[in-house]
Symmetry: C2
Subunit: 371 residues, 2 copies
Amino acid sequence: VKVDGRPYRSIWRADDGRAALIVDQTLLPHEFRVVRLETLEEAARAIADMQVRGAPLIGVTAAYGMALALLRDPSDAGVARAVSVLGATRPTAVNLHWALRQVEAAVSGVAPEARADTAFRLADRMAEEDVERNRALGAHGLEVLREAAEARRGEPVRVLTHCNAGWLATVDWGTATSPVYQAWDAGIPLHVWVDETRPRLQGARLTAWEMAGLGVPHRVVPDGAAAWLMRTGQVDLVIVGTDRTTAAGDVANKIGTYPLALAASDNGVPFFVAAPSPSIDWELSDGADIPIEERAAEEVTEVQGADPDGSVRAVRIANPGSDAANFAFDVTPARLVTGIVTERGVCAATREGLAALFREPGAGEEPPEGR
Amino acid sequence: VKVDGRPYRSIWRADDGRAALIVDQTLLPHEFRVVRLETLEEAARAIADMQVRGAPLIGVTAAYGMALALLRDPSDAGVARAVSVLGATRPTAVNLHWALRQVEAAVSGVAPEARADTAFRLADRMAEEDVERNRALGAHGLEVLREAAEARRGEPVRVLTHCNAGWLATVDWGTATSPVYQAWDAGIPLHVWVDETRPRLQGARLTAWEMAGLGVPHRVVPDGAAAWLMRTGQVDLVIVGTDRTTAAGDVANKIGTYPLALAASDNGVPFFVAAPSPSIDWELSDGADIPIEERAAEEVTEVQGADPDGSVRAVRIANPGSDAANFAFDVTPARLVTGIVTERGVCAATREGLAALFREPGAGEEPPEGR
């Protein structure tokens, strides 16, 4: 996408080839700052502190993190250490482990002195593939929006989304937003309800910023208001991303997604999940087996925002004596999901639905078996 | 309750008899400031700006507001104007209109020069009755918690609540918190999950402050996390307040209550509503007829909190170019409500259930007919 008229991705290789550049997402929308990652530790910290976030972008950042690690220590021990450090940053997004396994396999048969270069080239390719995968996913999602638009007969299609599954969460296009952006480009009138997404406000900060940047009409709502919007007939469909979807269609996504799905079900609103294949965990069936990250209480008890002069600061919102719990994700059972939108099409949230799209041998880089 | 060892209510008459004193709830928990209301306009502003909030306290404040108005203009026109100004402050809580009607009726047969005094004495009595009503409600709710405690066999009963239906929302005791406080006093082990309650954070600011003040173990969670707590078996029951409950049991309460009830239903968690009788609108059956207040977008796009030095300030959290919607309440359909806890007992959320408790003629100040 373009930011102030200049094309950007959420991550790219530095001109000197020996670093990855990212946009620091903890500062958006208040400040657009590009940060240079040069070491394994910097890459791991960028993921853990959520300077980069979103399952697809976490995966690509981890791949670059491997390359950065191998610049300094390309030994087998160095490979193992990088996998370990990066793998421990965040537990829920399966893309992280998917990416680490890919790089690990790619460098294993390569002489140490060539490993960093191999890893960089693979990371570059993974970034390109992420863009293409999300573009394809969006083209399938576009058809869903086109149908909704026909039912609305010229009135804007009212889409509700949660967290940020936008281009910032991927390398470009986004997952849940890719159909939205493609529909907008195709002239389909839209209105996007943006769940603010407590505690870290990725909706209010990042998705709203993306929508404003591309000119898509939108309004932010507190997370608790989404159900009421659905109950009062103000939402035509919900589409969210996912950090890990099981082979049977249970969907781990940002905390607050499961109650959205309940509200959609109670009100007959279609509930779609945009899941590029690296987000699918073919080894798990039951969403209860997905590890759910718990983060620091301060992310709940304090809020970061901008002063009138634009400077960013954190303020304490909760009672000072009170502790908080901060589960970063929840799991939506497959029974509440209308459809899963992938780069190969839209399917039911069932083992059969997913397998039908991904089982043909050799049809893509994501075989459902043998990982 | 006691605050720092000194007994307080949320509203009381000044020693000179000619003003009402309140605790400014927009500043809590960062500052405990008592504010003196001397005029109709000050009382109306205190309600509209949410220096006082909570349906029962709004009702009592409106009664004092009538008295303050009649100090200056006790004419029939003055009465009508005060009813009009106070009645326009907030649309959803039915207690407001209940209180205004009571005062209007009480002063109508009284000579103008005696009206302010009549209104003050009625407001005083309404405050006392609110305390007694919520104490009685809590005694009935205590039995619900006692049963839950037996099932927990000595482990803490895990109660989840939303917004602040605490003593700050009433004159004393609270509605949803009255059973909690009485159970705590009775030695029943408890753990309270406090929904932070965006946008105005009444849970994180006020309920957490109340719980900490009384020593009740508790943790704050983002609103979107409550469903996950229920799904993972960490909640024994939900109890919330109400701003208006219809004669058939539909429950208007703070935005975000309806998705809580959906999550409770999906996970077999009992969902109780603490509804003192002035919160029941006997003239409405269908929750869809309850007027839902819309408030300023800035309550969503900005958040107020405290700096490390304790000074209170607002910061912008949302993307600066983005608008927000701010529905203050939602309506939970009666089918999702396990029971309604009132000052006369616990009943089903049905017309029959409520009528059985309140229909005996002359049994209380709240006849179900003729209002």
